[in-house]
């Protein structure tokens, strides 16, 4: 048995890809170019690393719906990394980084719920939105995404200043120890110039368009992380030029607004 990355291979973004990353329910798109990337596996043991204090207790549910063991989402910390970070995916201080993340799950029946940012349930729909008392939708499980074969459906974007947390539901009549295998496509990105950005929103297929997090309203300040205003998909060239002002030619590479600490 070995890792099988065939499901995600074709959806990994590549060098020089143009990305429109959507925040705030599509109000703010950030136009980025991938300058470099590397692929990093990351095996995360939720109990051993300290995200959870103990195994998820056995479910005592009589109907499989209510009374399951539900663990509200927590950020993924590590008690082994120097400094014991509370969020190993915190890119706030690394604004040129973006992770295109996928994860496999064990055990198979374990349900994993996403909050992004922390405290905002994503993948939670009207009426059937998931709650601790009704966790029947909006989850990833190991049947969808086996540990050693992460599914492309688990794609999660980790962006600077956009925290990330996972919760769990155990439906099994025995305690379980969640284990996650992240496959991170770590990207070095830069904001593109206004002309390229306008082309990205106006020419279908030129850029890859992604919604970060989900549909729940969040407050993400694009300007504080990328130094430009977020774009809308129906902006005119003039509006894009206002959102992405020309850079000082003496302060960075021509045509790119680099974000450096």
């Amino acid at each position: 048995m070995s890792y099988d990355l065939s499901d995600i291979e074709s959806v990994l973004v590549r060098e020089n890809d143009l990305l429109l990353m959507g925040f705030n329910g599509g109000e703010d798109y950030v136009p980025l170019r991938v300058l470099a990337r590397t692929e990093v596996p990351y095996l995360y043991d939720a109990v051993a690393e300290g995200q959870l204090s103990a195994a998820l207790a056995a479910s005592g549910s009589a109907n499989g719906i209510s009374g399951n063991t539900y663990q509200p989402a927590l950020q993924l910390g590590s008690s082994f990394i120097s400094g014991k970070p509370t969020d190993v995916f915190d890119l706030t201080r690394y604004p040129s980084y973006v992770y295109q993340s996928f994860f496999g799950i064990a055990p198979a029946a374990l349900r994993v719920f996403l909050q992004q940012p922390f405290k905002t349930d994503q993948r939670s729909l009207p009426i059937i939105g998931y709650t601790p008392a009704y966790a029947q939708s909006g989850y990833f499980d190991g049947l969808l995404s086996p540990l050693y074969r992460p599914s492309r459906k688990t794609q999660t974007w980790v962006m600077p200043g956009m925290s990330f947390a996972l919760g769990y539901e155990n439906v099994e009549p025995e305690a379980v120890y969640p284990l996650l295998f992240f496959y991170l496509n770590a990207l070095n990105v830069a904001v593109v110039d206004a002309a390229t950005a306008y082309a990205m929103i106006s020419q279908p297929g030129l850029a890859k368009i992604f919604t970060v997090g989900g549909l729940q309203p969040i407050s993400y300040n694009v300007e504080s992380h990328y130094g430009v205003s977020g774009l809308k998909l129906d902006m005119t060239l003039g509006e894009v030029q206002t959102a992405i002002p020309p850079i000082d030619k003496n302060s960075g590479p021509q045509g790119l607004v680099t974000r450096q600490q």
């Binding site: 549910s61 198979a108 190991g142 086996p146």
Partner: protein, 131 residues
């Protein structure tokens, strides 16, 4: 390319182990109502010198989620193990037994009256009922 199902098989397995005697013993369960438990292999060890016969059984304990109504106690597997020996059933790939949703998987030795078996099962949860 390896087919998806083979990964579901290999990553979705669990080992269920226990000692079964003449008092009925719960090995696993109840199986969550929206899942079935498929048994892929069974190993029965008999440390005694006499042959021992026993059963794996299922009992519905939760609401009746099984396709055939409430199960009062049906045999999942019967086995006789010679003394100082063991018996294997299945090779871990094909389904050799199944426990219905909402049922307990239990074991019981029926003869002799003092015997016991070390039972080790490889099984997996699959979503759905009666599949």
């Amino acid at each position: 390319m390896v087919e998806y199902d083979s990964y579901a098989r290999t990553s979705n397995r669990k080992v269920i182990a226990g000692i079964v005697g003449t008092q009925i013993a719960t090995l696993y369960g109840p199986v969550p109502p929206q899942y079935s438990l498929e048994i892929l292999s069974e190993t029965y060890g008999n440390p005694g010198s006499l042959a021992v016969s026993g059963y794996l059984l299922q009992f519905a304990t939760l609401q009746s989620y099984t396709p055939s109504g409430t199960i009062a106690g049906t045999i999942v597997q019967g086995v006789t193990v010679p003394g100082d020996s063991s018996v294997n059933v299945g090779h871990g790939f094909d389904v050799v037994g199944k426990v219905e949703p909402g049922c307990l998987l239990e074991g019981l030795v029926v003869a002799p009256t003092s015997g016991s078996l070390q039972v080790t099962l490889v099984a997996r949860l699959v979503p759905g009922r009666g599949i």
